[in-house]
């Protein structure tokens, strides 16, 4: 099997506090992989480590076979890894248009950025309507759309998504997962971290359960949804 991303035995954390104690995951191209687990299990830390905001203490991270664990986020975006952090994932005082321009930074050439924005506007007409508005004044759902649009400006190969459903209404969450699905159909790979895991697991091809910074389980999304232990411990009845 071809792997897009391979995380192998990674130890990582903040300063002296180690959060991940040897986590391994792998993702094939075009997959949607979901990571679930309780609060403090290291899900967000894993994403931050992959994107390079935190450098791992030990272990390897390979993207298309080449080692990237020592690289800065700026370089990783250029390689095609987009990251959407949890919650604060837009630039609130910038306009919608400027947010997209910032997302297009790695494209360099202004005409390429402009073209990418045009494509985004075609896909998300709501952003076109709001393009002159401050991003901070958008509704929760619109902000999430903008975050997704900003991250897709560079046509990334891999999108790391941290808690996309946080604080959103169920209807808005459904809409967002539809968008994720359609971006995936066009070829982007997703690694999604979710605490409210049901919807994410239904969409995911494969999923991991992380607990206390260690791999706990790995299965298809469907498999984990029906796993009694997972149901009991992580999904709630």
């Amino acid at each position: 099997m071809v792997t897009l991303l391979e995380v192998k035995d990674v130890y990582s954390g903040y300063g002296k506090i180690e959060v991940l104690h040897g986590v391994s995951i792998h993702i094939a191209p075009r997959e949607i992989v979901c990571i679930i687990g309780p609060n403090g299990s290291g899900k967000s830390t894993l994403l931050k480590t992959i994107v390079g905001l935190i450098k791992p203490k030990k272990g390897s991270i390979r993207f298309f076979g080449s080692e990237i664990s020592g690289k800065d986020p700026e370089e990783k975006v250029r390689m095609g890894i987009s990251y959407i952090p949890q919650g604060r994932n837009i630039f609130p005082t910038l306009t919608v248009m400027e947010n997209l321009e910032m997302g297009g930074t790695p494209l360099g050439d202004p005409s390429r950025i402009e073209m990418a924005i045009r494509e985004i506007f075609e896909r998300y007409p709501i952003l076109n309507k709001r393009k002159k508005m401050k991003a901070g004044s958008l509704s929760g759902g619109e902000k999430q759309v903008l975050a997704l649009a900003r991250a897709s400006m560079i046509k990334p190969k891999l999108i790391l998504l941290d808690e996309p459903s946080l604080g959103l209404a169920p209807k808005v969450i459904d809409e967002m997962y539809r968008q994720i699905n359609s971006i995936n159909q066009e070829g982007a790979t997703f690694l999604i971290v979710e605490q409210n895991a049901r919807k994410a697991l239904r969409l995911a091809h494969r999923a991991y359960v992380l607990d206390l910074g260690l791999n706990r389980l790995e299965d298809t999304g469907e498999g984990l949804l029906n796993n009694e232990e997972v149901k009991h411990l992580y999904l709630g009845r």
């Binding site: 994107v51 905001l53 800065d72 986020p73 700026e74 975006v77 250029r78 987009s82 990251y83 952090p85 604060r88 994932n89 837009i90 630039f91 609130p92 005082t93 910038l94 400027e98 321009e101 910032m102 997302g103 930074t105 790695p106 202004p110 900003r150 560079i154």
Partner: protein, 287 residues
């Protein structure tokens, strides 16, 4: 009535200068999340650099001397960051605060060693100026207001029309997000220092034109700039602009009520009041 008008005009004048200081201070706060208490020394050195090029042996005219003075101030600002603040990017706020204060002392005493503590001027004769509505206005004062307007326009254009300026606002909004969006944050931070130092240099020169040069000129005016950014919301550049002008007015209209000797107390008073009302600003927003 004339006194009132004159006070309003003086308030506008002081407000312009404070606004330039406050905008520079808040720019750095925006990208690096700390108050650069050595900003006053950029103001002071900026003014002295111009003096250096205008005095003998060089004796350049002001518009020409301005260029090397601006460059040297920018260089000083960039070196400040490179040698004092950059090694401390991960340090806590207290460390940064103490570093900035130490740097401020060092640079202030450095200037004193170089030029002495006495008051100096650029050596322009004080011209009578015009009388409009019975208030006296000098050419220098007109120049101060016009220069400020030009600076504001340039800052606006840079921040809202240029790519690097937009990136800077993005970094102010959210540094981590800026990094993962692929923005070169190091370059952006350097650019913020260039803008901040330029505003400090120009503001310092204007202040020296209106009053005089002395090594302590930066420190006392930094307090005004600090009060201005508290008033305008820390990190908000247009708030800083407005805050600066308000402080300028408050000081100059305040002397209608209390003695001129207490002029400086007004900015301090506003600052203390704001800190009592909104204490978190000193530590910055944690999110």
């Amino acid at each position: 009535m004339t006194f009132l008008l004159q006070s309003i005009f003086n308030g506008l004048l002081a407000g312009c200068i404070y606004a330039l200081f406050a905008m520079g201070l808040t720019l750095i706060y925006g990208v690096l999340n700390f108050v650069n208490f050595a900003h006053g020394e950029l103001i002071m050195w900026g003014a002295y650099f111009l003096y250096l090029f205008m005095e003998s042996p060089l004796g350049l005219p002001l518009p020409i001397a301005l260029i090397p003075a601006l460059c040297l101030t920018i260089l000083l600002g960039l070196s400040m960051d490179r040698f004092a603040f950059k090694p401390l990017r991960q340090a806590n706020r207290l460390t940064l605060l103490i570093t900035a204060l130490g740097l401020s002392f060092f640079l202030r005493n450095g200037a004193q060693l170089f030029w002495g503590a006495e008051l100096r001027t650029y050596g322009f004769e004080i011209k009578r100026g015009w009388k409009i509505f019975n208030i006296s206005i000098t050419t220098n004062q007109i120049a101060i207001i016009l220069t400020t307007l030009v600076c504001i326009a340039v800052v606006y254009l840079l921040l809202h029309r240029s790519r690097i300026g937009k990136s800077m606002r993005a970094v102010s909004d959210n540094l981590e997000l800026a990094r993962v969006a692929g923005i070169n944050t190091r370059r952006t931070i350097r650019f913020a220092w260039i803008m901040s130092s330029s505003l400090a240099c120009i503001g310092g020169i204007l202040l020296a034109l209106d009053t005089n040069l002395q090594p302590g000129m930066g420190m006392i005016n930094l307090v005004k700039a600090f009060a201005a950014i508290l008033l305008g919301g820390v990190g908000n550049i247009w708030g800083a602009l407005l805050g600066g002008i308000v402080i300028g007015f408050a000081e100059n209209l305040g002397v209608l009520i209390i003695s001129t000797g207490y002029k400086d107390a007004i900015a301090f008073g506003i600052m203390v009041l704001l800190l009592l009302l909104k204490p978190p600003i000193l530590y910055g927003s944690q999110d």
